[in-house]
Amino acid sequence: MQHSDPEITIVGGGLVGLSVALGLLSAGRRVRVLDGADGDARASQGNFGLIWGQGKGWNFAPYANWTMDALAAWPVFARQLKELSGIDVALDQSGGYEFFTDSAEMAGFAAQLEQQAAHLNDRASFEILTGDDLRSQLGGIGPEVVGASFSPRDGHVNPLRFLRALRCSVHALGGCVTMGATVSTITPQPDGGFLLTLANGQSLGAEIVVLCAGLGSTALARGLGFETQVRPQRGELLITEKLGDRLPFLSSTIRQVDEGGIQIGGTKAETGMDDSESLDVMAGLARHAVTVFPALEGVRVVRAWGALRVMSPDGYPVYAKSAAHPGAFLVTCHSGVTLAPLHASVLAEWILNTSPTPDMEAFDERRFALSHAA
């Protein structure tokens, strides 16, 4: 399948880059995705697969609404992926819990949920459950759990099948995904457009460049006139042997993959680019799991790993158009799973400027400059 010069080049073949590619291809554009090396920091291969709204954007209304739009768009999006790729991403949006072992922490989170609900008008719905309520609803919850919040809109997918489904869907729409194509430099051309050089010495031209390279974006973004600097934040995870029966709940820290394994995670650490797994955190995650659901005690961990979240300065997505170099876009966020349906639709319209997209301005990187000035 040879393409005559794709007009749009997307740098980064993770969840974000492939979602954006899918949207642009659906809009009839010719798209090429350049993906890096096998060993790159790949948040898309180390994440938790949540499609999650609870608490998101409690102090930033545009993000609260953007997330809620994404949750609503997932069922159609999952069907679209299935049609294009033949892969079922195991979408399950039957609700999720946040468990607490500390009452003060729970009260703090409940207050955040109130604020989030205020941003969302009638679109939010959540419950706060005491420990006893929770235990009567869900057998097997440990005695140290003081309570939980529950949102019926939260859910999850199988994140690895989702990544593969996106890649295959992009192929199905005629997109070209080149893997092992690390981009070294992007140079704006005097007459418009960009020249990309790859680590293997190859060079490629592009009319439009969309940077979706996660932690690899920062170095390339500077030369295109962007200011945003993303930073790595390590999360550690455990995965257990597979179980034939189903865990009776989904939570933000304990979930069962559709294939049967229990994934446990949710830690945050500032450790630079070090993505190793650490004994203390592994033990802490295991303790959390058996505290919440003691029956997990005898289930074996088969693998632990660290993965690096892609964090903007305020933690919210950045969708920016370069003022200095029209045709260059920056797309970065740490919720590449949850927001994917919008990245594959609304964001394409924003890049192509084909329809008014009211709230996108709020996600521009100028907000960092404003907060510095203030």
């Binding site: 042997e241 597979k242 034939g244 029966d245 865990l247 049967g260 997990l296 005898g298």
Partner: protein
């Protein structure tokens, strides 16, 4: 288990133990691994995979995880790393383990 053992066990003068495989008593020499005892007893499968394929002990050194059986209520136990003991209750596994041990259905 109708398949005859694929091994001939040399006579040994040492002690024997009796364990239970799917509720039936089996005798084995003391000091051998459970995997050895199972292979000496029968040439048949000792677990079925999630897709229903028959498997039995394979590497005998603890790295392939094909010898997984339920031992005294603990599923996914490596038979090749477990010494056989008097009175041990062993069950073959069909498909994935369940949360509380045993098979999920």
């Amino acid at each position: 288990m109708s398949v005859a053992s694929r091994f001939r066990t040399l006579p040994d003068t040492g002690d024997c133990v009796q364990f239970y495989l799917d509720d039936l008593p089996v005798t084995a020499p003391a000091g051998v691994t459970l995997a050895a005892a199972l292979l000496a007893h029968s040439g048949d499968w000792t677990r079925q995979t999630a897709q229903g394929a028959p498997r039995t002990a394979f590497c005998m050194m603890g790295i392939c995880f094909d010898c997984l059986v339920e031992v005294d209520g603990t599923p996914n136990t490596q038979a090749c790393m477990t010494p056989v003991r008097e009175g041990m209750v062993v069950r073959r596994q069909l498909g994935l383990r369940s949360l509380n041990g045993g098979e999920h259905d």
